[in-house]
Amino acid sequence: MSATAWAWLVLLFPLAGSILIALGFRRTSWRFAGIVGTGAIALAFLCGIVALINLLGESPDARHHASSLWEYASVAGLQIKLGIYVDPLSVFMVLVVTGVSTLIHLYSFGYMQSDAGYHRFFSYLNFFVFSMLLLVLAGNFVLLIVGWAFVGFASYALISFWYRRTTATRAGMKAFVINVVGDIGLVLAAFLIFQHLGTFEYTEVFAKAPHVFHANQWSVTAICLLLLVGAFAKSAQLPLHTWLPDAMEGLTPVSSLIHAATMVTAGVYLIARTHVLFVLAPTAADIAAFVGLATLLVAASIALVMTDLKRAIAYSTMSQIGYMVVGVSIGAYSAGMFHLMTHAFFKALLFMAAGSIIAAMANEQNIDKMSGFGKAMRFTSVTMLCGGLALAAFPFTSGFFSKDEILAYASARGGMYLIFTILGYFGALLTAIYTFRLIFRVLRGEPCAEAQELIDTGHVHHAAPFNPASGEAEDTDIGFPGAEHHIAEQSPPMKVAMGILAFLALFAGFIQVPGVDKAITNFLSPVFSDSPLAAIEPSTGAAWFGLLIGGLVSLAGIGIAYWLYVASPATPRRLQERFAAVHTFLYNKWYFDEAIDILVVRPALAVGRFANRVFERYVIDGAITGGAEETIGRAGAIVRTFQNGIVRTYGLFLVFGAVGLALYFLIQQS
């Protein structure tokens, strides 16, 4: 069987799983759902491996195959096939996605046990994986858009999974609408591509583009910018990022899978996938890079002050994606993908740990209320530490290698791109600080009540279920947050998943060490070989120098964090009071939500209200309909007044008519 066949199977299993679980939700037990769900993804992962092996069996430049099932919609000169495109990049993504998903499914298997919506959850989750795979395997832009929208929908469905939480549904709506904006960007890009290249197929587009466009021609720039709209919306880059923090309303496994590991990195994949166009449109590429950089810093700065555990991690996700975007935009493709992978590992892990802790806190997410879990939950805290180290790019963890490779590339490209290196390191510093801020505040110190309860009784704390975002009491009909919560310590599946990920977070970096080996770069090189930028490569020395700086920065950051949150815990408060303005500014997330609310939402609603209350009533009903009625009615009244019942009046009109008619006849001739 060829690689494409396996790829089709990769697509098939999750879809089948999703449908199977959905249809069987009445008759089957939660265990069935969990097993089928996890199994399906695992199978998909295996198929991915096989596809990889198949691919590796071929010569590097022959490692791309397109395959299509049937003509999806092809008339009038458009041709849209239901086709996939298999090459190292897509296989790489497939492996990352399926791999991480498998583990997260495993985690959920334990974590979600007591949720009434168990079937629904796994069905959605499998559907998400399917969509994500569709996205990465799509062979043309239309199918890409389909996958793009599907993951959007899946994320919506899972964000508002507890659909009686008004906050959750609102967040879901927000995520969906912003993602649709992204889709629109892609659609327009597709139109523009079609206008110039007459096709939607990747292969043809990338083959033709260099011959059709010349560098920085407006059209190709426009295409890239429109693509970026899609990418930013999906990857929560400024200014379309506001949905991601709210998305933390969703369940923790979802946050870790969709909003950390996989979906949000789709933008990065898109840029990498269409790098041919971006090479033709350097301006667009630079814009992308700078946006990435901005996001990186802004998000990091916000993460410094977030008190909500999940939201803090979410902002760190944004910031990390910023790194990837920078990477793929400036040409460090493989580095970007590398970081994508490692980030998937450690960020998923962090969320899992957070989920475990939140469960222990009976659904409380405010870190101010947490402390001392180091003692209470050994396993969780260890894994969380691993994740934290990787995120903070502690030397020789996975994050350490991947992040610094991007920055090294930037410096190697030189010129303007040095900015990225410098600010990148600054971002790294912030990253280290906020990461360990979380770790110190949650794990160290005197155990809080919940932690204590856990230590003493070994039972997870229980509380009347309430919505952490709004504080309102929960509607328990839909189960979770329901009777019992599940923490890693007490749930083998969770443990396994987190363990594996912790290992990966620590050591996955070693597959790509400067001067030693560069598995990923080699594997992906056939994809990016056509890009002149791919040739640039920092010298091993430079790379190690970068790594050195990176290591120091990270250590410094951890040190600062230690000083702030362990050595002299009073300092942060003082700083807050000192820079109150800055703090509030950061605490309100740079007022992005408010800005969008004022600029977009309110105007739209105002227009709607105007149309509804004024236009419809006074113009449509009043002027048009009413006006006509009025006129005709008046005319009728006039006619009836002359119909006054007095016969002589009738005579008068008759004579009048006669006179008029005679006059007409006489004058029409003369």
């Binding site: 008339v75 793009w148 659909y163 009686r164 609408v177 327009l188 419809e616």
Partner: protein
């Protein structure tokens, strides 16, 4: 065959008048089913590649006036006919499951309406078309008026008032269209033999001067029917008055007749005028899209949300047709079917919701997904299709429409596509507002009954099926669409044309060199 398709419903309806109350519903359903079966059989017999009319009927009806009874099927109307047959089955079955007063009359009118609608889709004689176009309205007038909902309590109109408004509004257009049609025939005859056959008239051609005004007479009829912005005044009242089972077919099919009319009549017969007024109509379409969407997400009455969303959708369809490109019109045809397929279930669901909540106010609904997961799932699918979720056939429809618009009038495309974002908002708002959030007291959250499931499921299956293979429609519609459109564009091949400014990088460098030399 085609005659059977057209007259079977009416025949069943007439017989139904004399059946006992309890039986008539099933009898009517059987009639609709029979029609559907005939339609499907014809669809199988349909020759896909061909552009021309198939299994036509053509006999003189009124010799003195040159009116012929001529029917025919081609890519334009094949699927609209099927849609009609299908939705009527749905609507009638849905009604048959419920208690209707004076059922004999009710179902007779329903089936009569089906015949009229099918007639307007099938007729290939301009006058026959106008006739059926007007006739469609009559049964609905009675259905809305006599079985409708009285809104006078909430300060709204009584059914009689609402329907009167609807009739007058829609007949303004169609009466002018009658004049227009006759004028078309007479002018095109050039004093020769008078005929209303659309093909013949197209062949004879109409001078531009006459095209200009006749175009507007027809446009008036079609735009009101859709309804388009500024002439949609009848829609809110009518939709609120209408009994829901009837609204299922009404909103599902009737609006399409307008759009279909543009493709069938206006483009072929008045090509120059069409080209001339393209921008104006596009502006109207655009206004409909934006206005409809905006209204849809401020309404709180669930019927009106659906109603205004159709205004927006029809705006898209019109825009697609008046992109005057094959792809735009292909998309329009596809989208007509899609929209019918989503809006009909939408109204069935609305009906079910209203039964459970006893209100039509979105604000006092919610939280029903809990006890009614199946209903929620079906609704979710429908809602996603409504907002043209990529992967649904609606997406392909809008994709083609917008692509056509994009290639011909890029600015309009950019504005129009904003409607997509809004549709996402109002569709989800409708879904969440009913299925999600807290459940207010007094809302009976019951699972969909098996009977309603039987009605609803097939429609949803059709949506899914089309989502997997929209080519089914596009492929068959395309030849006929090409024909209609090429009448306007003068038959130039409508595949994509590479932008002029594109050129080989090589040339580009040469240019630069020359530039330098000049410097």
């Amino acid at each position: 065959m085609i005659n059977a398709l057209l007259w079977v419903p009416l025949a069943f309806g007439v017989v139904g008048l004399f059946l006992p109350k309890r039986a008539v519903g099933w009898w009517a359903t059987a009639g609709a089913l029979a029609t559907l079966v005939i339609g499907v059989i014809m669809a199988f017999g349909f020759d896909n590649g061909a552009a021309g009319l198939q299994d036509t009927v053509n006999t003189t009806w009124i010799s003195g006036l040159g009116v012929n009874y001529s029917l025919g099927i081609d890519g334009l109307n094949l699927f609209l006919v099927l849609l009609t047959a299908l939705l009527w089955v749905g609507g009638i079955a849905f009604a048959a499951f419920r208690e209707q007063e004076r059922p004999q009359l009710f179902f007779f009118l329903m089936l009569a309406a089906e015949t009229a609608t099918l007639g307007s889709f099938l007729s290939q004689d301009l006058l026959l078309f106008v006739l059926f176009f007007d006739l469609m309205l009559v049964p609905f007038y009675f259905l809305f008026g006599a079985w409708g909902v009285d809104r006078s309590a909430e300060g709204g109109p009584t059914p009689a008032q609402a329907t009167l408004k609807m009739m007058i509004y829609t007949l303004i257009g169609s009466l002018l269209m009658l004049v227009g049609a006759i004028a078309t025939a007479i002018i095109s005859a050039h004093g020769g033999h008078l005929t209303f056959s659309i093909e013949a008239i197209q062949h004879q051609g109409v001078p531009l001067g006459s095209q200009r005004w006749i175009f507007w007479f027809f446009a008036a009829a079609f735009l009101v029917k859709m309804p388009a912005f500024l002439v949609h005044g009848w829609m809110p009242d009518a939709y609120r008055a209408a009994p829901l089972p009837v609204l299922v077919v009404f909103s599902g099919v009737l609006a399409k007749v307008g759009a279909y009319g543009f493709l069938r009549v206006v483009l072929p017969l008045f090509p120059q005028a069409t080209a001339q007024f393209q921008t104006v109509i596009l502006l109207v379409a655009l206004a409909s899209i934006l206005y409809g969407s905006v209204m849809a997400f401020t309404q709180t009455n669930v019927r009106l949300i659906a109603g205004y969303s159709s205004v927006a959708q029809l705006g898209f369809i019109t825009a697609g047709i008046f992109a005057l490109r094959a792809d735009g019109s292909d998309g329009a045809v596809l989208q007509m079917v899609n929209h019918g397929l989503v809006v009909a279930p939408l109204f069935i669901i609305v009906a079910i919701l209203v039964e459970r909540t006893g209100t039509e106010d979105l604000r006092s609904m919610g939280g029903m997904a809990m006890r009614a997961p199946v209903l929620a799932a079906l609704f979710l699918i429908v809602a996603l299709a409504t907002l043209a979720m990529p992967g649904s056939a609606n997406f392909i429809g809008e994709f083609y429409i917008l692509n056509g618009l994009f290639q011909s009038k890029i600015v309009f495309a950019f504005i129009a596509i904003s409607g997509v974002a809004m549709s996402a908002y109002y569709a989800l708002r409708l879904y969440q507002g009913t299925m999600h959030n807290r459940k207010p007291d007094g809302v009976a959250s019951r699972e969909i009954s098996l009977r309603d499931g039987i009605v609803l499921a097939p429609l949803v299956l059709c949506i899914l099926g089309l989502a997997l293979y929209p080519q089914l429609i596009l492929h068959r519609a395309d030849p006929s669409v090409q024909q209609s459109v090429s009448a306007v564009t003068g038959g130039e091949q409508l595949t994509s044309t590479i932008h002029q400014s594109d050129r080989q990088p090589g040339e580009f460098e040469e240019d630069q060199i020359q530039v330098q030399v000049i410097r």
